[in-house]
């Protein structure tokens, strides 16, 4: 079973919200709202305190989700950790 983990970037904190994910930067107290229902699908990803794991075959099954996560990596919110 394929697993991909995205770790929160340093100094960031994250919370799951009804709209998606809420990020807080401890270095400047700025908030980032990421509004995406795809990030709330418990069958495809697990949101933990400081990481998100794509589970099952989600990488293959849900290209949109992978695309969103890669965009969040580009924005500096996550670091991709290979398994």
């Amino acid at each position: 079973m394929e697993q991909v983990t995205y770790c929160l970037a340093p100094a960031l904190k994250m919370r799951k919200e009804a709209f998606g994910l809420l990020f807080y930067n401890t270095r400047d107290t700025k908030l980032t709202f990421v509004k995406s229902a795809a990030l709330l699908d418990d069958h495809l990803l697990a949101v933990e305190k400081d990481a998100i794991r794509l589970v099952g075959d989600s990488a293959r099954e849900n290209k949109k989700l992978v695309s969103i996560m890669q965009e969040l990596v580009k924005r500096g919110l996550f670091l991709e950790r290979p398994q």
Partner: protein, 335 residues
């Protein structure tokens, strides 16, 4: 993780925590009408730690610690350390007079802390009229000690009133001099400030001039939003709308929770964090839901409604005895 609810955030982003009612000053415009006497209702250290544990469980990101004067508590540094160990950012609002070398050194070693020192004038004469004789010198002494020990995240907070309005440019320069950010806060008729409202409030012309100042000095922070003077240019500075019960809430020294520090009266009581979890209060308190659903009718047709939602409910309530009216200092109505 918290269970998300589509009507509000899972938990506050930040919580304002008045950690003691005890204060060594008696500022004329204090929002909390604090006391110089001993305060037996303040939570003890164990209760504070339990509350911080609860904040951590709820995933609250930041705690704004005020009072009273937070440094009147002998255990404040322990409380700060406990917050930081949980990864919770703290922002301490202080009058600066009790920050000695030992304290400044300890604070400079902390990574997740912001400090704002209250100074209400660019000169001792103006500041001390409001905050008491000799306070300007003592407050700037605390700032000097923080700087001497290399403290980084420092701001100087000024409540803008009719008394110090003439010095806002000098106050801004004072921030530069002390290597601190300038933070301007709105004067509200809450707590002891009700008694001096008529003496201290800004006139229409002063409000308009202040709006212009804020538009031009984009690096000035506004800890509480000047909703009345929110212009499109300042939207990215976070001056959009009231965050009470939506992004934030307030806890008094005895653990009572309210929508914000300016609405700490019985009718706005939401719960007590010594008896309930913060999440339970956040999701169930009637006053919080009232504020979340508040739609100020008088403002609904305004083109700025989506960015301000009627302004500050606390000012509207205290000046007009009604939440459901527009902010009396709304710049669009003043122009």
């Amino acid at each position: 993780m918290n269970v998300p609810n589509d009507k509000c955030l899972a938990a506050p982003v930040n919580v304002t925590w008045e950690i003691t009612k005890h204060c060594n000053l008696s500022c004329r415009h204090c929002l909390s009408a604090e006391t110089t006497a001993h305060c037996p209702t303040d939570m003890d250290l164990d209760q504070c730690k339990q509350f911080i544990d609860d904040l951590d469980r709820a995933r609250v990101f930041q705690v704004n610690i005020g009072g009273g004067e937070p440094f009147m508590r002998d255990d404040l540094l322990d409380i700060l350390d406990y917050c930081h160990a949980k990864g919770i950012v703290t922002c301490v609002s202080t009058n600066g007079t009790l920050i000695d070398d030992y304290c400044a050194k300890k604070l400079a070693q902390m990574k997740l802390i912001y400090i704002q020192v209250s100074v209400d004038g660019a000169t001792p004469d103006t500041n001390d009229k409001i905050r008491g004789a000799g306070v300007f010198k003592r407050a700037t002494g605390g700032i000097d000690r923080l700087n001497a020990h290399g403290f980084k995240n420092l701001s100087i907070n000024t409540v803008v009133t009719g008394v110090n309005f003439k010095e806002i440019h000098e106050i801004y320069q004072m921030g530069k001099f002390y290597r601190a950010k300038t933070r301007l806060s709105r004067f509200r008729p809450s707590g002891r400030a009700k008694e001096v409202w008529q003496e201290y409030f800004l006139t229409k012309d002063q409000i308009l001039e202040l709006a212009n100042f804020l538009v031009h000095y984009r690096d000035v922070l506004t800890g509480d939003s000047f909703f009345s003077i929110t212009a499109g240019q300042r939207r990215d500075l976070g001056l959009n709308m009231c965050g009470a019960a939506k992004m934030t809430c307030s806890v008094s020294p005895d653990g009572n929770m309210y929508p914000c520090a300016f609405l700490q009266e019985d009718k706005f009581y939401a719960g007590n964090i010594l008896r309930q979890s913060i999440e339970e209060i956040w999701h169930t308190a009637a006053i919080f839901n009232t504020l979340r659903n508040l739609k100020v009718e008088a403002c609904c047709t305004c083109q700025n409604f989506n960015t301000c939602h009627g302004g500050c409910p606390a000012v509207a309530y205290f000046l007009k005895n009604d939440f459901n009216c527009s902010d009396p200092e709304c710049i669009r109505q003043l122009q």
